[in-house]
């Protein structure tokens, strides 16, 4: 049984060799000119600004989570579209139920205000989200 894993071992060894041999060769032949620009962090071509260790707003996380759900939905839609002709009505109803569940989720997120970038009704707000005494609950308090 262990002999079956020999293939895996050879594959792993080949993978390691194919990564490190080119790296080794280029370290021998490539010219090395280190300029400040080259040693800088890569930030999508922009000039790097500040440290990477900054605190992100938690709202990015919520948005990313919502995005992920609908992203996965699309991933499921592609194979469904491929077999739609053979499956017919069953596939249609099935996908309808799936989409319905997701739409309920979207409606929930919308109603709870997680799609608003500017938050209303912050209960224990601080800083720019602090509720002003003159404003009653329900009015916009934050700024962009």
């Amino acid at each position: 049984m262990y002999r079956d894993f020999g293939t895996v071992l050879i594959f792993a060894m080949l993978a390691i060799v194919l990564v490190y041999v080119p790296l080794f060769i280029q370290s021998l032949v490539a010219p090395s000119q280190k300029t400040p620009d080259k040693l800088d962090n890569y930030e999508c071509g922009e000039e790097p600004e500040g440290s990477a260790w900054v605190q992100f707003n938690i709202r990015f996380y919520v948005i990313a989570l919502i995005f992920l759900i609908f992203d996965v939905e699309v991933v499921f839609l592609f194979p469904w579209a491929m077999v739609f002709k053979e499956m017919g009505m069953v596939a249609f109803i099935e996908m309808g139920i799936f989409l319905l569940i997701l739409i309920v989720g979207l409606a929930y997120v919308w109603k709870k205000g997680d799609l608003d970038w500017v938050k209303y009704n912050v209960k224990y707000g601080r800083g720019r989200y602090r509720q002003k005494a003159s404003q009653t609950e329900g009015e916009a308090v934050g700024s962009i």
Binding site: M1, L100, I101, V104, A107, Y108
Partner: protein
Amino acid sequence: MNNLLSISLFLPELVLTATIIIAIIVDIFSVSNRTSKVSNYVIIGLLATLAAVFLTNHSPTTLFMDSLAFDPFASFIKSVVLVATLLIIIFTRYSNEFKGYHTGEYYALLCIMVFGMFLMASAIDLITVYLSIEVVSLMSFILAGYLKNNPRSNEASLKYVIYGAFSSGIMLYGLSIIFGLTGTTKFFAIRDAITTLDSSSNLALTLSTVFVLAGFGYKISAVPFHFWTPDVYEGSPTPITAYLSVAPKAAGFALMIRFFNQVFVDGDSLSTLGWYADVSFAWPEILGVISVVTMTMGNLVAIQQNSVKRMLAYSSIAHAGYMLMAFPTISSEGVFAVMIYLVMYLFMNLGAFFVLIYVAQKQGGENFEHFSGLGWRMPIVGIVMTIFMFSLTGLPPTVGFIGKFYLFVAVINAGSAFYWIAFFGAINTVVSLYFYMRVVKTMYLDGNPSEEIIVPPLSVTLILLVLAVPSVFFGIYWTPILNWVNNSLLFFVQI
């Protein structure tokens, strides 16, 4: 059975899914502070699910390409879980811990958890096993931390997440080793593959089963995977504590019974004592030791507690130990005893927790001193709590006695090799008498018997009676439960 044909037998889960969606929709359209409306819909939905569980009758089979089993055993666990959930929803409506919180999502999350437990009760595929455990775990993390402004609740949630992630990671590793050894994720195919393994893979098989046991042990809070239990139980809102100590435990035991009886033992007759796999590892003894250590630890630490809630948390660890007692025997009698105990445990434990909720509201705390003199001030609550404490100890004529009786019978009948487990079980029962009776003693002998008598409102009395009457009634006349369990002791088995 193929996917489309399976749908008709998947009816309970479909009704449950509809309930979840309706709960969310009702929550969306309701005015923010009137969310008890959601619980009405959820109660109706869960009752419909319970009806669907009883209505879907079919000979045992598998659903969705052999990933779920449909058999009376699964239906039994589903009914137990549903009854527990309905009671918990009533507790939640009564509890004042959720004042100021939006409870619409709470009910939806509870229903999703029920869905996960339905899958746990019927999973016969390693992937379904893992997914169902994760669904239940994720929902319990959120529910344990539902009281956002309470630091204890947040602590409970975070501790639960860390332990949960760790143990489910270990379990996943074990499952992947099993898959590597056998090349399949289906229980029955694994059983067939294991019998043909040569002895060189014994180590891997042993290791993987230990890892899988870590995941199951975490779910039923068996020692040494129990460390999360006291803190999570103490910090969570009390209805959720009551729920976690009953329903996921029942589902965890269902999963464990199915896994061990169908992968390692001849799952058909359920009466052989030998393990299927040719492993030179003392499995029954290991499970026996886990059982004994679990109940001893639970009982010994429960003695020292000052908070009744924490005492009940440790007592639930001890009860998991009692139920594990029947596992090493690997007999249908053992499974039978565990199933009876799950039903009995449901009534007595939920009852004790409801009394705790009520007392915490009236007296403003959950410690022993808040119970002092309670038996004279609130006679009904005192009597009912005494019944539950007798029952948890296992004194006749209560359900606790019947449950323990069958467990001990199963262990003794399995032969003299298991007498030591019964011996430790008996000693532990005596030890547990001390801290359960301490509650009764505090209620009747401590404090000053005051003149005023508090009569709980009718709704509370009704809930107390719904839990206390079965606790005594089934302790005297338990034939209905016996028949139900007897009819449910039927697994799907692939020859």
